[in-house]
Symmetry: C2
């Protein structure tokens, strides 16, 4: 029943050999790997605006200089990753690069940062996507949390089904987004050229605080989320057509240029046209509305913004479960995360990410701006570690022009490292502390899990084999009985078949009940002794376990102790709710009770099925 429901939702199971390794051309690869990066303007512009508007008109005229600084940073990081793409044709995610070059611990640090990243990419993209659409339809504004969760559920289900079509179907909205935005920017540029720029003093936004260096740093600390997603191509080199590294590198260059054009262009126009949004509207929406009015063109821009943000959230649903599976395979996360589900996807990882994303959206009330401080820290930890790893890579491997390459990555590491400090310090109180605390907790968890797996391996390894029984050896059997009935028959028969030494035990909850049972018992099985145990505290398990211990002590004959559990099974699952689960309780007690003797007690269940 449950199985059928599951198949209805996620589709019927797929056989293992259907795992295909599709190879993407550059057009489709750009669509597959760039949404996370390109969609960053969906929140980074907003952050620049929210940071600077505090200083009023005087602040807002700093938008373009700020954007230029961030674009410079973007260029440095892009060049750094261009080198990674060529150095790691098998995929150079931060985890791989940091682990190989810096060692296990920096690798794990990077992995922890990346897991948090994926999570926040999903949460931030969803909420920012909803803000884009709610800017067009303000009546949706109060329902942001619910609607974000709805989209989250849809994305989760699609991913559980297995999104085979990643490159193809997703290419359409990505290119729609590019087309819509590039056209709008071109049109905006022509407006500025013809009509001339508008100065901010005209609209006179009042300043809440002075324009200080601190305020600029503060703005930079969240505006630098414009770079998120830039590393995606370096993870995905193996998916490109050969020559893989060359194609991936070219795609990276195109993507970086597009990122720069979109970011600088939109911020530039916002400043040159002195655009100011109303309270329930994003700055991007305000720009689009200013240029295109509120008609179809505007709606296309907003819809494509929301679509690309949704696709960006979706990339987390590919990346997070894959990284979690790699970590699990290395023994740092529960092994269940490596299980391929019915549809050949890492279903447990998908569900884990969905649950965590949902929780974040609810806790932060669907507010992108509140989530951003958590986001930026994780991103820049991963970037910095990856760049430092690349420096070590060049120092170790040398090769043609290694000095220049190491210097390039060094500059990248310096830039992202400084950014990391700026973000960590400036946004600590606003939420970065959550990420800062979460990362050590994750690292502690990784270690704890790893130690456990190693310990299990050690304890399960077969050094010398303990003595082997090969001949039948005597077993002492105890059967707990609840009364004389049909459900007991098979169990008693089986017990007598495997042992000459069978004892039945009845735990008496109401005084007198035991004698009734004894009368019936002796009529049926006169040759099996029945022991009646009192239970002053009305527990069945405790007196039974005490009896077993005492019996072992008294006997001390080296016989194996087995408990035969008669279990009658109702025909329907809900009928289980109508019965005391005594056999289950006894079984758990036996299974988990550790004994110092070498051999644990054997538990033998003899089921008897009821018909309806």
């Amino acid at each position: 029943m449950l199985d059928r429901l599951k198949h209805l939702i996620t589709g019927s199971p797929l056989p293992s050999q259907q795992i295909a390794h599709e190879q993407l051309n550059k057009i489709r690869a750009l669509a597959a790997f760039s949404p996370d990066a390109l969609s960053s303007i969906g929140y980074a512009n907003q952050e620049v605006y929210l940071g600077l508007v505090a200083a009023g008109s005087l602040g807002l005229v700093q938008s373009v200089p700020m954007a230029l600084v961030i674009t410079m940073l973007m260029t440095i990081v892009a060049i750094s990753y261009y080198q990674t793409v060529h150095a790691y044709p098998s995929g150079g995610g931060s985890y791989a690069v940091a682990r190989e070059n810096l060692g296990a611990f920096p690798g794990l640090l990077s992995a922890a940062a990346l897991l948090i990243d994926y999570l926040l990419t999903a949460a931030v993209s969803l909420t920012a996507g909803l803000a884009a659409i709610a800017s067009a339809f303000p009546e949706l504004w109060p329902h942001r949390v619910g609607l974000s969760l709805l989209i989250l559920v849809a994305i989760t289900l699609l991913n559980l089904r297995g999104l085979r079509e990643t490159g193809t179907a997703m290419a359409i909205p990505v290119y729609l987004f590019l087309f819509a935005f590039l056209s709008m920017l071109a049109y905006g540029a022509s407006v500025v050229l013809i009509d001339g720029p508008i100065s901010f003093s005209a609209t006179a936004v009042p300043a809440a605080q002075p324009l200080t260096f601190f305020l600029m740093l503060h703005t930079f600390a969240t505006g630098c989320t414009a770079l998120t997603g830039i590393e995606a191509i370096s993870n995905g080199v193996p998916a490109f057509r050969p020559p893989k590294s060359k194609n991936a590198g070219q795609t990276l260059v195109v993507m970086a240029i597009l990122m720069g054009v979109l970011f600088l262009g939109s911020i530039g126009l916002t400043q040159l046209l002195a655009v100011v949004p109303n309270p329930q509207e994003t700055i991007l929406s305000a720009l689009a509305r200013r240029l295109l009015g509120s008609g179809a063109a505007y709606l296309i821009v907003q819809a494509s913004t929301m679509l690309i943000l949704g696709i960006a959230a979706n990339t987390s649903f590919a990346g997070f479960p894959r990284l979690a599976a790699i970590l699990a395979a290395d023994g740092y996360l529960p092994g269940q995360l490596t299980n391929l589900g019915d549809r050949l996807v890492f279903a447990n990882g998908i569900l884990l990410l969905a649950a965590a994303t949902g929780a974040l959206i609810v806790v932060f009330g669907g507010d992108t701006h509140a989530l951003i401080p958590l986001f930026a820290v994780g991103v820049y930890i991963a970037y910095t570690l990856s760049q430092i790893g690349m420096i070590v890579h060049w120092l170790r491997n040398r090769g043609k022009g290694w000095r220049l390459k190491a210097a390039t990555n060094g500059m990248g590491a310096l830039a992202t490292g400084v950014t990391l400090v700026v973000v960590g310090v400036n946004k600590f109180v606003e939420g970065a502390w959550i990420t800062v605390f979460l990362i050590p907790i994750l690292l502690f968890g990784f270690c704890k899990v790893h130690n456990h797996y190693q310990e299990v391996d050690k304890q399960l390894s077969l050094g010398e084999l303990p003595g082997q029984f090969t001949e039948p050896f005597p077993t002492r059997v105890v059967v707990p009985v609840a009364g004389v009935n049909r459900g007991m028959v098979d169990a008693i028969n089986y017990a007598r078949a495997i042992s000459k030494n069978v004892t039945a035990v009845y735990v008496e909850l109401e005084s007198g009940a035991g004698e009734d049972v004894r009368r019936d018992w002796e009529r049926r099985w006169p040759d099996v002794p029945l022991v009646i145990l009192p239970s002053p505290y009305r527990s069945i398990v405790a007196p039974f376990m005490e009896f077993l211990d005492k019996l072992d002590e008294q006997s001390n004959d080296g016989q194996l102790a087995a408990v035969v559990l008669p279990e009658w099974i109702p025909a329907k699952w809900w009928q289980n709710l109508l019965h005391n689960q005594t056999a289950r309780l006894i079984r758990s007690a036996l299974l988990y009770r550790r004994r110092d003797l070498g051999f644990q007690r054997v538990i033998i269940e003899v089921p008897y099925h009821l018909r309806r």
Copy 2:
């Protein structure tokens, strides 16, 4: 660990012989059985006010006539129950009376109504108690739901500990309440006598609708909740000192008089003083404030109102679990409800009631007025059935003056029956429909459960014993293996000890893995054949079960089929989360897979404990 936490909260377990049967004198019996009845003014007055205020001042002057009608009904019902107390010295709850005299089905109907009653008594008393206290401290008003739940949790914990002191400690707040209210009413009467009554036209409450007969009926339909709890003494006759019936009867008379005085007195004063409450205040609070100001005396009245309502809620926690246990013992509810917990209370019933009450409070936003329509229907179903049962009782048993007694109960039945119809019709849309629908659902559940238990008894009964094995008989053993490790050793040894015919089975999830296992296997256990099964859909359980079926088919040798499960048990519970629960999945599949053969497969678990 969990056990220790549990004992910390509910106290350490008590031995069974501590069940004591305390006998109460009349003073303590009144305190034990009357809170539910006396506290009814905590919501009934409010309902009369809310019903009549719709017709403005013109409506409010009908308060006293309305109260007189309800008091008449109260007198009739009290006399009826007085007869029940004498006819059923062993306790004449509605369920007992209806079952004995009218048959199983009316008995169950009455039981369903009573269960709902207990539930609603708890919910209504808690919310009304909170309204009393929030009238004094309006800043608590927005937190009504949370605070009600807090008190609910406290009452639940106290009851799980076992409230031994029912009669003694609870007597204090009950008599405090009586003292506070009777003094206030006496003082109010003197005020009216000295200053003369105030007419409502003076305050001029505007009418929202005309004063129709329909509006009066509507008001009556909820005002009649003033009678709730009046049956409590008839359930509790065995708790009285001998002569039980006489003492119980006298206590009932005193209680009924007190109910009448409190209800009529408070409504009379409200009308004579033309009291009108402000929106976030109960009418009782408004009356007290009018007479006593807002000082200490007022606070004592409000606090004692809240206390007695809390105690009334608490009576449900005695009654509901007891009735549920009786129904469970008769086979109409899950048997677990008869389990006496560690503290000699029906812990499952207490938890069930607490969960349902909490749900009601949350769903209805802690609003007493919204809950009342659900409440009244259940109460009057139980009353009516009980009275009809008494008529049949007199017809059957006759005895001195039986005609008069039957006529008295007949009048009671008529009065409560008419009230039931009035309530059902007038309040159907406002919530009575929930109770009206819930009762058949409960009845359906009772029958379903009863049928199941009867069916189980039938199927488990031992008519002829099937053939008994007495000599050891051959067993075919299959052992699922996950690899060659220490955890397997005991299991393989045990399997070989009980059978000459052991097969190990490895389910291969990744192609090639099987051959590695085979190599290790053949070095360790060359004489135990290892079968490697492919698993195209990555399931372990399905191919294994198929293999078992095929093996049985091929062998067809009458041998018993057993599966030995090697289970290694981690040292700490959380470590279970780090491992695939394959052994558990296989066990469940074996346990619940029904086979048409006579003997089910035997499941043998051989645990191996890890150390840390």
